[in-house]
């Protein structure tokens, strides 16, 4: 137990901050994923064959390739790609992107692919009559989407989005390979210097269990809130 003391003696404070880092990366990745989902869901539902195939390619490739491989792509390729773009604008110095951004971006792209599928499924299972009725009643585009379609879509999407959140939260453990100090990386450092990997990795497992448990409680409440009236 001494190993968990806060301060210089134990690893309590380090692990606490590492947990905050895991939460921060997960939330950032989830938001980046929503942005990707907002871009690709319309493509997947579009009638244009070309746009449709772009949307399908995104979800198929990302969901069919291991997360670790995607992370390596961005970890090793990220700064190269940015330096290439910068060199077009005449900037030739070395640019290093920080591990937090690379990590949340790569996990975000992965979680975006899952979110896209969730939103597509939710939009498709809204009753067709709802779209037609909203159009017939002459609502403008803003009300049509934000007041009629979106609330119905969220009700259907939230249970599946909480699954996506769980996947994203667990995927962040993989960013430890890039050196970002989140729970896994901190446990690796701690077990390296104390030679007690069993304790620290088990404690990491407990931290992840706590995170998944607490977030499930919150998301269940959200689910109840959005399914009001049904």
């Amino acid at each position: 137990m001494e190993l968990l003391y806060f301060g210089d003696k134990g690893w309590g404070d380090e692990l606490f901050f590492a947990t905050l880092m895991t939460i921060a990366v997960s939330i950032t990745a989830m938001i980046i994923g929503f942005i990707f989902a907002a871009l690709f869901t319309p493509l997947k539902l579009s009638n244009n064959k070309f746009l449709n195939s772009i949307g399908n390619a995104y979800t198929t490739v990302i969901r069919g390739v291991p997360e670790l491989l995607v992370i390596y792509l961005f970890f090793f390729g990220g700064s190269g790609a940015i330096m290439f773009v910068a060199s077009i604008f005449g900037y030739n110095d070395y640019i290093e992107i920080n591990a937090f951004l690379t990590g949340s971006f790569s996990i975000g792209i992965i979680s975006g692919a899952y979110s896209t599928e969730v939103f597509r499924g939710a939009l498709q299972s809204i009753d067709k009559g709802q779209f037609e009725a909203a159009k017939v009643l002459g609502f403008n585009k803003y009300i049509y989407f934000f007041k009629i379609i979106l609330p119905q879509m969220l009700r259907l999407a939230i249970p599946n989005l909480s699954n996506v959140w769980q996947i994203t939260l667990k995927d962040t453990s993989l960013i430890s390979v890039t050196g970002l100090v989140e729970i896994m990386r901190q446990s690796y450092i701690a077990s390296g210097s104390t030679r007690d990997p069993l304790f620290f990795y088990s404690f990491a497992a407990v931290l992840y269990l706590m995170l998944t448990f607490l977030s499930m409680q919150l998301l269940n409440r959200l689910e109840i809130k959005y399914s009001k009236g049904y």
Binding site: L68, G80, V177, P197, A205
Partner: protein, 225 residues
Amino acid sequence: MDIELMISSFPKLLNATLITLKLLSVSLILGLFIGLGFAILRMNNNKLINKFAYGYSYIFRGTPLLVQIFIIYFGLGQIEYLRTTFLWVVLKEPYWCAIIAFSLNTGAYTSEILRSAFQTIKPGYLEAGRSLGIPSKIIFTKIQIPIAIKQSLPAYGNEIILMLKGTSLASTVTLMDLTGVAKYIISTTFKPVEVFIVAGGIYLFMTFIIHNVIKYLEKKYGFQT
């Protein structure tokens, strides 16, 4: 785009695919047995056994696979007692540690899939079987199992693909599977995009095949219930 590198790395990556496939198939088979065992425990009426099986699947589904591998590979070696038993022969090999972690992990997911498949069988089928005087063993093998296979196929297909992606974590415990070799080539040549295309292509090809096999099986077991 370095086409030459893509061509020269292809055989190396293909070779590493064999290890990925070996890891996948062994852990899926072991996981199926573990999953079936825990699914049966979950349907037990004894509360304690039930809670134990639920706890197992909750812990393995609630923590990242990476933590599980690290606990087994780095953690268990720390226990002095284990080093003296025959288990050490298994646990000192990263290959077997990865297999143990993968089997336990996929076992947890499989147990949930099978449990829900068995529970959604309408009681009417079992009652019909019993009233026709069919022995309960045959009810299990000829009625419950085919319906459960049909119900669980789509979810189990997803689990196989998730597990295929999961085997990439074996590279973190020094195994040179497809992702491990891909990382090695990337870090020596610094050409991530080319290697990603080749390795990702191999993974996608495997996903494609698994997807189609499951589709075929779904058709085969696609009787109306």
